[in-house]
Symmetry: C2
Subunit: 455 residues, 2 copies
């Protein structure tokens, strides 16, 4: 009996996919950069079916690729040729919101937006949010420790996890769903699975922490003298505004593209060296404390604020339209990196020069999440130098003690650069953990850990 | 050459201790319940010396016990007979406070109070605090994922870690000290080491997240109808008071002992079924919002509040004198457990009966951290039934999906009960991780993982 037959008997005929045209929608990531030929797609309905699928694949010695919403940016959920692609999308049950513990149970295949609707109806919210919310799944968010714009206030996805159910490579099921905020009974397996990118287990269910739903919001766009000035402003705002939730940095190069390709008016009469977008959210209107705090900031070049929803959206648009505006100029080389905030100003100042050495015609457009020193590096007009640019930028990131993958993960695309941010001892420890939980290397091979030892 | 000689050559003669009377101070925990005969105590001065010590012990096949401030409650840092006791107390360097990133670097041997002094002088604070602050070390806090009274607001120690340096069993050194809030380059080794109780590595240095220093505080003591009413009050207060920092629960049985053995006046004219102590901390005086929120609470039986320091201390004393008052009555059986808050009221109601079945003469005194369902169970007049009481209480905790160790850790004392809170699959996964990083079992043997398989 073939593996496909055995998988079909677990999930039912409708959920074992071998048709080439249907497979195609699973086999390529949405950026189109990553692709692999899966032998089939299997869509289990619950944890028990996932465990059976994993056991059958293990018995057959066939690798598994685990895919949620397929919104990743690093090829972490596109299959190796010949592997079984396990889609978590049918694991889409959301439990009742526990308004005493501020928690909810969600299947790995629930979309972020679907979960948000449920918890907001109960007067609560989830601490992580970003643009892919309608497609990305909470299981994928946990597997990649997804970040976004609220990390400043709530941390990344790992900080939102109160528990998980996961299937290990041997088909055994780890269940830790009591959601206890204090539970010091051994190793933090949930935290270890989070960010392991499907290489240590298949997350099937999550117990998620929730935060208060804060509807009173105010946004300010500040014009400042540069990155150092933006950091000074952020420090002062954080000290006086506990309601601060986002602090986004961008520059004239990016704003120019946004203005050229969209229909937004210039935010200020003249351009400025850097822009800082901040948002406060609170139970009561945060506009006044935000205005007070801004009035105290020394050296501000200009500022504009808004507390009503449409005005807030307009200010956010200057930041959010960056990705689209950059793509309208051409296909960029994109890198997601972070450096310690104490090194950020120097790094930003040096980056265009670093890029130009690798690609003399390149234009560098930067924006990012200021509080975490997380920069999205976009390089235009230099696609043919992509490798040299990547090498140059990531090497300079490493020199500053930074991360070659701040929030997108390692996936397939950055595995060969992992050694820039992780020492040989760290990679060896990770390999030992991988061998301990998946000795045959069946879960997401090629993702995260490079096949060759780092030099 | 003996192992002692080789260790002496690493740390210097003054820091290799073999004298019986000096050893004695390291070999017994402060509760006096745990004791073991170490062959020597070694006090390395830095990470490099720790690595050398670990390598020498590994080469000799001699087990290591790692000890910080020796303030643990579960025997996690008392030695196995014949092991080398590695004291981290000389790793006591605190770095400059990074007021941009809100972080500080501290050696594992720095006391919590010592670190607090440094960061408070820079206008910041640490998110975890508890009574052992003058003796406990930040390394021990990380190794045990220490909790305390602010977990409601800031989470336990794991949530405060931005990085760590640790020596593994093979003497290799993991270094992740950039303090990047976003750094998705593989497995969360820092989070895995946190709470591993010295069984996976020796933490030598930490990069700690800091929080704003909030000097404006207000405390209220609320008299309520019982545990369910306390949870209703807490839910309402959390929704309206972002500044809420602590919510402590106690009962008439404990308050009676506090009043009998101390010199506090009764807080209210008459006794009430349960008491809830709450504290708010903010940049501006939180007294008015706290009073407003309390005024909105339905069904409150009585309340008293204080915003000045001495009044706050007096209200806290009702809760903090519980431990002393209980000890003044006799030696209690003490258990640190948690149940999901949705089960807490039923669990509290049933607990005295559960205890009486195991020990007909026992008096049960409960208090704890309400938001986490974390109860400190104290049983008086039944020391000869300690095992039966422990068995009965922990079994009933497990029945509710609770934790047999909420914040104190597993150590030696609870290893045999681990299977009540962790499934066979979870224990097997933990064993696999332990074998992966410490195949010879040299780090803290006997702690956390039981020697026998769970049933």
């Amino acid at each position: 009996v073939s593996l496909e037959s055995r998988l079909r008997s677990i999930v039912g005929g409708a959920h074992l996919i071998v048709e080439r045209d249907v497979l195609a929608t699973y086999q390529r990531d949405w950026t189109g950069r990553f692709h692999g030929e899966a032998r089939c797609v299997v869509r289990p309905a619950d944890t028990e079916q996932v465990a059976s699928v994993v056991r059958e694949c293990a018995a057959a010695g066939v690798a598994l690729c685990i895919q949620g919403g397929n919104t990743g940016l690093v090829g972490g959920s596109t299959p190796m040729d010949g592997s079984v692609l396990l889609s978590t999308r049918r694991l889409d049950v959301v439990g009742d919101v526990d308004s005493v513990a501020w928690q909810v149970t969600a299947g790995a295949g629930v979309t972020l937006a679907g979960m948000q609707r449920r918890v907001r109806a109960a007067g609560l919210d989830f601490g992580v949010d970003f643009a892919a919310r309608d497609s990305c799944t909470v299981g994928g968010m946990a597997a990649t420790n997804a970040g976004g714009e609220r990390v400043l206030r709530y941390g990344a996805t790992r900080a939102q996890l109160a528990g998980a159910v996961a299937v290990l490579a041997d088909g055994s099921v780890l269940t830790r769903m009591s959601g206890l905020p204090k539970d010091n009974c051994g190793y933090d397996l949930t935290g270890l699975l989070c960010g392991s990118e499907g290489t240590l287990g298949v997350i099937t269910e999550l117990r998620l922490r929730l935060v208060p739903l804060l509807r009173a919001r105010a946004v300010a766009l500040l014009a400042v003298d540069g990155t150092a000035a933006a950091l000074d402003a952020l420090r002062a705002l954080r000290e006086s505004l506990p309601a601060l939730e986002a602090a986004e940095l961008f520059f004239p190069a990016g704003l120019d593209l946004v203005l050229r390709h969209g229909d937004l008016p210039a935010p200020f009469p003249e351009p400025h060296p850097a822009y800082l977008l901040v948002e406060c959210a609170d139970l009561s209107d945060p506009a006044e404390p935000l205005l007070d705090a801004i009035a105290q900031l020394p050296g501000l070049r200009d500022a504009t604020t808004s507390a009503d929803a449409s005005g807030r959206r307009k200010l956010w648009a200057y930041r959010e339209q960056h990705t689209e505006a950059i793509s309208a100029e051409g296909t960029p080389v994109k890198l997601d990196v972070a450096v310690p905030v104490s090194r950020l100003a120097g790094f930003v100042a040096g980056l265009p020069g670093t890029v130009l050495q690798a690609a003399p015609t390149a234009r560098t457009v930067l924006f990012g999440h200021l509080a975490e020193g997380n920069l999205h590096v976009n390089v235009l007009d230099a696609l043919d130098c992509a490798d040299a640019i990547t090498e140059a930028v990531l090497t300079s990131v490493a020199r500053e003690g930074g991360s070659v993958s701040a929030e997108h993960g390692v996936g397939r695309s950055k595995a060969r650069w992992l050694h820039l941010s992780r020492s040989a001892a760290e990679v060896a420890a990770m390999r030992a953990l991988k061998r301990a939980l998946d000795p045959a290397g069946l879960l997401n091979p090629g993702v995260l850990l490079p096949d060759v030892q780092p030099s």
